[in-house]
Amino acid sequence: MSSPVSIEAVMAGLEERRYIGDRPLATSIFLALALGRPLFIEGEAGVGKTEAAKVMAQVLGARLIRLQCYEGIDVAHALYEWNYPRQLLHIRLLNDSADRAAAEQEIYAKEFLLRRPLLDAIDNDDPVPPVLLIDEIDRSDEEFEAFLLELLSDFQVSIPELGTIHARRPPFVVVTSNRTREVHDALKRRCLYHWIDYPSVEKELAIVRARAPEAAEQLAHDVTALVHGLRELDLYKAPGVAETLDWARALAQLGATRIDTSLVDATLGAALKYQEDLERAREQLPELVEQARGA
């Protein structure tokens, strides 16, 4: 499929692949595609940022290239690296009399290049431009951000030994961040911005139905209401949509069709990951469960 022609087309594409998004998100995606700009998606952990990029790749019929960021990620891990062992072997196999300069040129050719995700995305021959997902950019450091800045504005990279490589078909770039730190304004300025919030009860229920169909209707309803109750508590880490789905699946595995206090108590770890949060939730568990069942 080529680039969607309207906001509605994006909406339909997302829905078809069981991603329950809203119109503002579809608008941002549509515009990012139309303008050829990267899309910067922020939101709490587990609200579906990465999933949005994955689903968009399916909608576009494009290859998904994912770059997971971490502290210390650098050009060698993100862009390219020379395959030194191969180069060494090659040069040792050459005749001693061979011309040194020619040999050096030979070993700095594309076949000695280890292509990392970013080079892969820029230098692509795909029929449809790929979707480049730069995941959790907040985990990388400032040096890497500065490097991305250049890449994202011109869609080109320079390799000293080879020259500059332009993207013939720029990829659709999605950058995600959990906001564990503030990403520099200069990078954001090159992107369109979208904040994904926790969904409403109705929307989250629709997500559970679509993504965890093994959970019975009543169970899906109970779990969604319970998670919304938990988010109201003052927790260190409120459960995300991903946790709701995990929890619904876990309870379905146990054969539950409704929730009760002991069942919730036993599986609470699917939703809350901090000891303090678990304690706080357990203090008011009967009320929370009661409230969720009644909702």
């Binding site: 119109r23 503002p24 608008t27 941002s28 515009l31 139309a34 700009r37 040096e143 730190r181």
Partner: protein, 387 residues
């Protein structure tokens, strides 16, 4: 791509200016993006129009409410039944400087027919979250004496300490350390694949981020100003995040970025509305731990908490939050101005509860004490203290 409506472009530029005055980036780059983006959508689609401008002009979550408010006020349809800019259930306050608010009201025709002149200005005040139980007094930092400022600045310049470094996951070429395979291989290519010399690498070092959390409640009044000057000077050379609290926590990192100290401090006093109120250290730290810790305590941050420990809140809560804060930071330093006065013992309930959970407990009553803090920060080891 041409925008369909003829008068849209100047309107859009004016909207960008309003956003700019309200603290968002409404510069030419974003304006150009927005203009282009609008070419792709149906302008009669109001929701799409709003979504488009949001995607183009907003860059941070905190900016979302400001954007929505500005949008409501600026693009409000002319409706005689409601006062412009006050769509029921929709309008939110817009943080504008008083003079800008006045000129915008004039420009948008908001003061005509308004029941109360100065609407926007009053909205601004409501936005600051006045509540009855907070002892709110608006402090003016503009009265700072010239000598005081100069003295602090001079002293901070004379003792140019820098915060200690930590190892990062990046490496740099070095004479010793781990063998750097990539560089070694690369070099041996020029000698036809013979390994002649091993090259080494070592982890790169970077300065630790510093987080300052300052108590500016009534009992800290005499010290708050001094501490803010300290924060402003430190922010010039370190990666510093600054928060102040009395009954509520406010992040002032961005406000302190102004180069000149006077405008920076008057900005702080304008935005922080509970200077010299009561103290709830526990609640303030709880808020920090939940809302900010994960965002500002990465990369081995050092936390400096400045407070006299006079707390009206629950000591148990305080102990719990201080202990959590410590677990999330590389080092937690508590500065107490009272520690400098003769005969002081940390016996207030709050202080007694929190003390076992801090790594260091230092004085902060004068410039010399701040200088000693500087030496401590400069001398921090690479490893965490054993706790």
């Amino acid at each position: 791509m041409a925008v369909q409506a003829p008068d849209l472009l100047p309107r859009l530029a004016a909207f960008a200016r309003l956003l700019h005055d309200a603290g968002l980036d409404g510069g030419p780059g974003r304006l150009t993006t927005a203009t282009k983006a609008l070419g792709f959508i149906d302008l009669r689609d109001r929701a799409g129009f709003r979504d488009t401008l949001r995607a183009c002009f907003v860059g941070r979550r905190e900016e979302l409410p400001v954007f929505e408010a500005a949008f409501d006020i600026f693009w409000a349809p002319p409706d005689p039944r409601v006062r412009a800019g006050f769509l029921p259930g929709k309008s939110r306050p817009l943080p504008l400087a008083p003079d800008r608010a006045r000129s915008w009201m004039q420009a948008l025709g908001l003061n005509q027919g308004a029941q109360r002149p100065g609407d926007l200005q009053e909205v601004v005040n409501e936005s600051s979250g006045y509540s009855a139980d907070e002892l709110l007094r608006h402090k003016d930092f503009d009265e700072m004496s010239w000598e005081e400022t100069e003295q602090v600045k001079r002293l901070l310049q004379q003792s140019p300490w820098r915060i200690a470094e930590r190892r990062t996951r990046r490496s740099r070429p070095a004479r010793r350390g781990e063998v750097d395979l990539a560089r070694t291989a690369r070099q041996s290519i020029s000698s036809s694949g013979e390994l002649i010399r091993l090259l080494h690498r070592q982890p790169q070092l970077r300065r630790r981020p510093l987080v300052l959390i300052c108590d500016v409640s009534g009992s800290m009044e005499r010290y708050s100003r001094l501490l803010l000057i300290f924060a402003h000077a430190t922010a010039r050379r370190e990666r510093l995040e600054t928060f102040v609290f009395s009954t509520r926590l406010t992040r002032i990192t961005r406000l302190l970025r102004k180069r000149e100290i006077e405008p920076a401090l008057s900005e702080v006093s304008k935005r922080v509305h509970d200077f010299s109120g009561g103290t709830r250290i526990g609640e303030a730290l709880a808020e920090f731990n939940r809302r900010w810790a994960r965002r500002v305590l990465g990369h081995g941050a050092v936390v400096v908490l400045v407070s006299d420990g006079w707390d009206r809140g629950d000591p148990e809560l305080l102990a719990r939050e201080v202990s959590r804060l410590r677990r999330m930071s590389h080092r937690l330093i508590w500065l107490n101005p009272l520690l400098g006065s003769a005969g002081y013992e940390p016996v207030t309930r709050g202080m007694a509860a929190a003390l076992p959970h801090t790594d260091d407990f230092l004085a902060a009553h004068n410039l010399k004490a701040l200088d000693e803090l500087g030496s401590l920060l400069a001398g921090l080891g690479r490893r965490r203290t054993v706790r």
